[in-house]
């Protein structure tokens, strides 16, 4: 009966994890998904506590209480910006737990004089190896992200060779201990070697690629849990470990794609590669570039979008795509207004001809004076190939050639997305601070191509 209950709770936990993960991939359901996963976790814990091998609850209660005391502030206090390193450290903890369980199991078996059989030993071996790599790797990753360690890639000659040798050594130890589980020296040496390897693995990777690495280590940690499951014959560990392992892997691939980095480069080529700085930066400021997917989500959920067309829209002949985008946003319930600056483009009425050609109704077009008050209310100011007409220098910088020209207050919007091919200046030939603003995201590429991408994405959001 008790066993049935345990298994039932495990089954429930597995199902909840799967459903939760699935929902977590949809912006509108992600929170529900997280809650399902949390409930699943609770099921799994309650089920485990009923396990008949557990006879003494004191340490458990103590551990859980202490864990909550440590974990709660970790969750609530960490500033949002420190999220990646927080996730890395969190991963350290779970990998540590898996490793320790493995060590405890091995130690107990050896102490009891019942060395594990080969299959179990294989599981234990992998568990320890993956766990240790993750522990060490995530600590280094967190250090780099927090800039305790230099976030630059640390490389030296012969690095790949050395790494290879250490890995080979670990494999030899693993084979040794599997073929003869009583060889304790091999087991414990492997722990050390794996820790070392974890450090060596992550050190050469640049800070910018860390999120991908963390996702990948996540996958390793999942596999370690999985191995624990095989070792102690626990199915929920196998399932969630396996889920974690595969989803973590896919996620790291997706992330590297989204960051425009080759996955294998991150893994291997990164050994020795340079961290690329963000696209050109001016006077120490950096721009925040964004992918179509993220931009699409921002637009999809915005209540008011103000579109600011400029000469770039004309060059890209993107007027039709702009109208389509506006239609799609409106169909989703958002409001779209077009802010037409008096000198946008290269001839009087340039934007008008194009927008009329694309059949944007006249009543959607707003003059500067009409619309400038509305930017504060706008969730997104979508700047399409405009530059000078949204340059705050016209307001602030007396020395600027455009000083005194009234501009569209794009910078008053809650967020700004700029579609441009690169960081070139506009007609006036001057830098635009707006592009370096914290709330501005640059979607680089020909405006028409970017819009086509946005259109495709927004339908999937």
């Amino acid at each position: 009966m008790r066993d049935t209950f345990i298994q039932g709770s495990y089954l429930a936990a597995s199902v909840l994890f799967i459903l939760g993960l699935r929902m977590l991939t949809r912006p509108d359901k992600a929170r529900r998904g997280m809650q399902l996963a949390a409930v699943g976790m609770l099921c799994a814990i309650v089920g485990t506590l009923l396990n008949h091998t557990i006879v003494d609850y004191r340490w458990i209660v103590g551990g859980i209480v202490l864990g909550v005391i440590i974990g709660y502030p970790m969750g609530t206090r960490v500033p949002m910006t420190a999220m990646p390193q927080r996730i890395a450290l969190s991963l350290t903890l779970s990998a540590l737990a898996a490793t320790l369980v493995g060590v405890a199991e091995y130690y107990t078996r050896m102490a009891n004089g019942t060395p594990p059989d080969r299959v179990t030993m294989t599981a234990l071996g992998f568990e320890i190896m993956l766990g240790c790599i993750t522990v060490a790797g995530t600590i280094v990753a967190a250090g780099k992200l927090q800039e305790w360690l230099p976030s630059k890639p640390l490389t030296y000659k012969g690095q790949n060779l050395l790494n290879g040798l250490v890995f080979l050594f670990i494999v030899v130890l693993l084979v040794t201990v599997i073929s003869n589980p009583t060889k304790q020296w091999a087991f414990y040496t492997m722990i050390g070697a794996s820790l070392l390897f974890g450090v060596m693995l992550v050190l050469p990777i640049g800070g910018a690629d860390m999120p991908v690495v963390v996702a990948l280590l996540n996958s390793y940690s999942g596999l370690a849990s999985c191995a624990t499951g095989f070792a102690i014959g626990n199915v929920i560990l196998i399932i969630s470990g396996s889920l974690d392992g595969s989803s973590g892997f896919i996620l790291s691939v997706l992330m590297s794609k989204a960051m425009n980095r080759s996955f294998t480069n991150v893994l291997f080529g990164a050994f020795g590669s340079e961290v690329k700085a963000g696209p050109k930066s001016s006077a120490g400021m950096t721009v925040h570039s964004i992918g179509v997917e993220d931009a699409a989500i921002q637009l999809a959920y915005a209540q008011l979008v103000i579109i600011i067309p400029g000469y770039g829209m004309a060059v890209a002949q993107a007027q039709h795509a702009v109208r389509e985008l506006a239609e799609v946003i409106e169909k989703r319930g958002g409001e779209v207004k077009f802010a037409v600056h008096p000198v946008a483009g290269r001839m009087p009425g340039h934007m008008n001809v194009l927008l009329a050609e694309a059949n944007v109704p006249y009543d959607r077009l707003y003059e500067m004076d009409e619309i400038n008050g509305e930017f504060d209310r706008a969730d997104v100011a979508l700047v399409i190939g405009a530059n000078d007409v949204v340059n705050p220098a016209a307001r602030n910088d007396k020395s600027s050639p455009i000083y005194g020209m009234p501009i569209l207050n794009a910078d008053h919007a809650k967020s700004v997305i700029v579609l441009k091919r690169g960081m070139s200046a506009g007609f006036a030939g001057i830098e635009n601070e707006l592009f370096y603003d914290k709330k501005t995201s640059m979607l680089f590429g020909d405006a028409k191509a970017s819009l086509t991408g946005l259109l495709a994405e927004i339908k999937n959001v």
Binding site: R31, T48, M74, A215, Q303
Partner: protein, 96 residues
């Protein structure tokens, strides 16, 4: 049929499931999702609980205890963080 083999099936099927579940995620959710899978990785608590509670020997119990602390703090902190991250979309959810 041997249960270890069956466990292998379970492993393979779960891996497939994980793969297919994730195959399409908007980049915006990458970080929350990573954090969430990470919190789920706290499942190693299950093993830790058994190690800590089985009262086999002092060493195992202590290791188990540490593992419980580590895994619990990961789970608790992890879910709280995911929740904080996802709350940021909440305002926008409503609008839809």
């Amino acid at each position: 049929m041997s249960s270890q083999l069956l466990e292998l099936y379970v492993f393979v099927l779960a891996a497939f499931t994980g793969y297919m579940v994730i195959s399409r995620v908007p980049a915006l959710l990458h970080t929350p999702l990573m954090a969430a899978t990470n919190a789920i990785a706290g499942i190693s608590l299950v093993g830790s609980l058994i190690a800590a509670g089985a009262a086999q020997n002092r060493v195992a119990t202590i290791l188990g205890f540490v593992a419980v602390v580590a895994a619990t703090s990961n789970i608790v902190g992890g879910f709280i963080i995911v929740d904080r991250m996802l709350k940021m979309f909440k305002r926008e959810d409503k609008k839809k």
